[in-house]
Subunit: 568 residues, 2 copies
């Protein structure tokens, strides 16, 4: 049903990329490790000069109008991108339209052009555009670094191979669903016997059309402007919907690059490039709500805060896919290796300064301590091991792991929480970044919060802020974690535990809050990361978001099967 | 991926029914004709005495408490079922609970018992229960006839084989989705080289759990109490959710029979029968909203009016599947056989007195007439042919085709519309039903409505009411039909047309309103009917409903994939 070879190849791009599509289809079925694009920025793979060329392209873009987009405009918008590393504005302007509904008008006018395209053409164009983005991974990395504050290597991986993999995964999932039912069938129903006793039959010629839902709006966030947006773009395009990309006003350049490559591939293949458009705005004059409220906009993808996400989800006549705020928990029960566990947790808390939606916030630690091969380690000693691990990591690799804080409000929140009356177990500190002396950073702060302070543990503290919560036992920790996930949302849960029955208990409890669960991570694997083609990112079952990357619903809701029956 | 034979058989019922499941899986993939249960009530298939026995069971149930259900109660509810054929109350009482939230409490308490059951056990129990329902099709037919007013044969087909087929289809679709991804996989990621140059790998043991969403509430309607409810019941149960069935207060007996058979099959297989419960109410003290508002209710299926359906769809924290009101259109362009066309339309309008959600309401006819092999037939002559066909059908088979009008309000509406100032082309008339002299019936009334009377053509007129709307040309008819479907919802669209280009134009336009399309039906096939395993009933893409029988979403939204990753 999803064999790419089962359908004749009618265009060159599809032939070129059909093996890639088939590999992706196999990967989403098997869910074992698969990556189309290597996450190591190896010169052997990406070219000897790719890194230098990418940096040069980035340097030459800064301070200049962004000219690569193939879309009309009635003005140029000077956007508010500022590098969290240098504190300097990027001073890039983008083509823009004074009236935001003009984007919707254009998208709507191109609806039929794109919905009439065949699936192979769409798949060929979309995978080709991903290959072209891959040729610019190094420029994309710098663009991501200097808008989000991610470290360079994280920028490379998140906006480059990981994002491309997630987009390809979505194309494959959509391909599978779009080919799930036959396009045509002859339906022959036995309809009794005639007067001579011969069977009669009623025949209908049936067709099933895969009708796209309509104009798609993809609203990006400031911290993962590419990774969190490409699945939506590619999912909507593959299912036949024109797309308007509305990036966060402080992180435009990275996704502009992706839009540019799709537009160019569309144009070269005879389609109107504005089937995907970039719609920029500024914090002072936001346009997301104007676009979302437009009756012609039928699909909305959104990553960001819960207030606007809840607003969008409640809009009638739209299909809305969200990733919103959540409160991720950790429960400590027992470990084979205290030091390795704490090293792993410290890294998870520190990575990109806690600005990942998957980063833990509340760490529930039994008051009686946790089990280790050397016997029980007391609650106090467990905290000491945690804070030591963070300090140790900060000393050895702090600036690189932390990256920079994207939003000054996150910096302020991290500072202020230390004066909130909670017991400070580890204070936040600025750390020197030799490469970028002006980088906005803070080391993780760890505070102790009593379990009955639901006001505190029930509030997302985005940034490098960790709460340690003493509990009677791990079951109390699980009960709190499950309840927080159910009430406020959660994307990840992690625990360390050497007892099989307790592991099953925890997995079963947290699964009922629709939170992904990770156990006993040590070494080079962290709860923060989800793997394309294997892990579902967000389940869609709790308030952290109603969509999942990439489950079948993520693509199915972008089109409908419409039956046509003809009596011959 | 969906081969039933791929999994070892662990219970007898699954072995018994695995061939049925496989046939259903093949059918939903092929979408050619398939029916598990014959729609002809043949004694050869269902038994020589089945009809007599079914009638006897029905007769002995009337006037007695319904005692077959295996559920607790703190009272007995005398329900308000009245036969539209005799005008007499059925006088059946059902076990009930004074506090509706008690149903939710019980369902919630059984959540884990059922969610821990394995897929084969669920499939085996559910298909077994359908076979047991099939053994009571004749009783079910009488129960349906004397609550809904459907003719006996339609009652047999709709609540019997057609409903059972739709339920089996849903079980199969759920089986396919629940088995879509592996339960476990070993994920091995290449992770660079060690100091000796040997490749390192990171291994995770992954699981994916299929977590049911929670308590499911299925709210039935008065006209199709079984057909419109069983897919929801079986979809929720197959995906692991306990179910509360809240039938319409005037049509309980038919679905009580289905609930009884599921409960008995559950109990015989060691499960609590109240995993599915019947929750009855009366028009004076409705409980649907109380149940729907309960925070523990997570899934709601609803068939009925748009006002309450819109309310349900807007509830936050719930997943809601609706079929609401719609306005179905017909466009006449040309035909090979005027008489056969009009006979087909007349039957569609008359069948069950226009009380089907798929029944046409507005018939758009070009003022210049329609094409036939004998030349253009004028608008006036087309109307005359239509009204003649209806009168002819009523004379020859009126009482049987019409059945009876379920709700006195439908009767009153049909009477009143004739005094609404619209031009009456064919008045409604009572018709004699020799078998049931007290049957509430009216022949279809046909009225002419100008195309600019959007207030009239844009309002659903449930019952035997047809509007003929003169239009400039078929394109105007299509434009109106598309707009009505988009604004107010539509489930079906039908047209008669001999021009291939016009057919494609109409199909393409109506597909954009997410309305199923039927062309040129004559003889024993009517737009009113959708076929299990082949036609999607409702697309989910317009205001007539957000769910589709049975597309993948119908089952996918009843559970979520939750990943568990264990670092060994």
């Amino acid at each position: 049903m999803s064999q790419t070879t089962a359908v004749g190849t009618t265009n060159d791009l599809f032939s070129k990329h059909s093996a890639t599509l088939q590999a992706a289809l196999d990967a989403i079925a098997a869910r074992t490790f698969y990556a189309r694009w290597p996450e190591a920025p190896s010169p052997k793979v990406y070219g000897e000069n790719a890194q230098a060329e990418g940096l040069a392209r980035f340097d030459s873009q800064v301070g200049q109008p962004y000219s690569g987009l193939l879309q009309g405009s009635d003005g140029s918008m000077a956007c508010k991108e500022v590098s969290p590393y240098t504190g300097q504005p990027l001073n890039i302007s983008y083509p823009s339209r004074k009236n935001p509904s003009e984007y919707v008008h254009i998208a709507d006018s191109l609806r039929t052009e794109w919905r009439k395209s065949d699936l192979q053409t769409r798949a060929g164009i979309l995978i080709e555009s991903l290959e072209r983005v891959a040729a610019r991974f190094f420029e994309l990395a710098s663009a991501t670094q200097h808008t989000t504050g991610q470290s360079w290597i994280m920028s490379f991986q998140a906006s480059g191979p990981h994002s491309n993999d997630r987009a390809l995964e979505t194309v494959a999932m959509a391909w599978q669903e779009l080919n799930r039912f036959p396009e045509k069938a002859e339906w022959v129903k036995p309809s009794g016997k005639d007067k001579e006793g011969n069977m009669r039959y009623t025949t209908l010629h049936k067709q099933w059309r895969k009708e796209p839902i309509g104009v798609s709006l993809c609203i990006g966030c400031s911290t993962f402007p590419v990774w969190n947006t490409t699945p939506a773009i590619y999912g909507s395009l593959m299912t036949g919907n024109p797309v308007i990309v509305k990036p966060h006003p402080t992180a435009i350049y990275p996704i502009a690059l992706v839009v540019e490559e799709i537009q160019k591939t569309l144009k070269e293949n005879g389609f109107s490039p504005e089937i995907v458009q970039l719609a920029t705005d500024t914090p002072e004059a936001p346009i997301a709500k104007i676009l979302a409220d437009d009756a012609r906009v039928k699909l909305i993808d959104y990553t960001g805060g819960s207030a606007f996400g809840d607003y969008l989800e409640a809009l009638s006549g739209k299909r809305v896919f969200t990733e919103k705020a959540g409160i991720n928990s950790v429960v400590l029960h027992s470990t084979k290796n205290m030091k390795a566990m704490m090293g792993n947790i410290a890294f998870s808390l520190s990575l990109y300064s806690g600005q990942m939606c998957t980063c833990p916030q509340n760490i529930f630690i039994p008051k009686g301590g946790i089990g280790t091969p050397e016997g029980m380690v007391s609650y106090e000693d467990t905290i000491a091991a945690l804070t030591f691990a963070i300090k140790d990591l900060m000393e050895k690799a702090g600036a690189g792991v932390l990256g920079a804080i994207q939003n000054p409000a996150t910096y302020d929140r991290t500072r202020q929480v230390q004066d909130s009356g909670l017991k400070v177990l580890l204070p936040a500190q600025e750390i020197s970044n030799p490469e970028f002396p002006q980088a906005r950073n803070l080391t993780p702060t760890v505070l102790e919060v009593p379990a009955d302070r639901r006001d505190a543990i029930g509030k997302e503290m985005f940034g490098p802020i960790t709460y340690v919560v003493p509990v009677e036992d791990y079951q109390e920790g699980i009960a709190l974690a499950r309840n927080l996930a159910t009430e406020h949302g959660a994307i990840t849960f992690s625990a360390w535990c050497t007892d099989a029955a307790a592991i099953e208990y925890m997995a079963d409890e947290m699964a009922q809050s629709f939170t992904s669960v990770s156990f006993n991570f040590v070494g080079g694997i962290w709860v923060n990361q989800s793997a394309g083609f294997s892990d579902f990112h967000v389940t869609g079952g709790n308030p952290a978001g109603n969509a999942s990357l990439t489950d079948p619903e993520f693509v199915l809701r972008r089109f409908e099967w419409v039956g046509v029956r003809v009596h011959p």
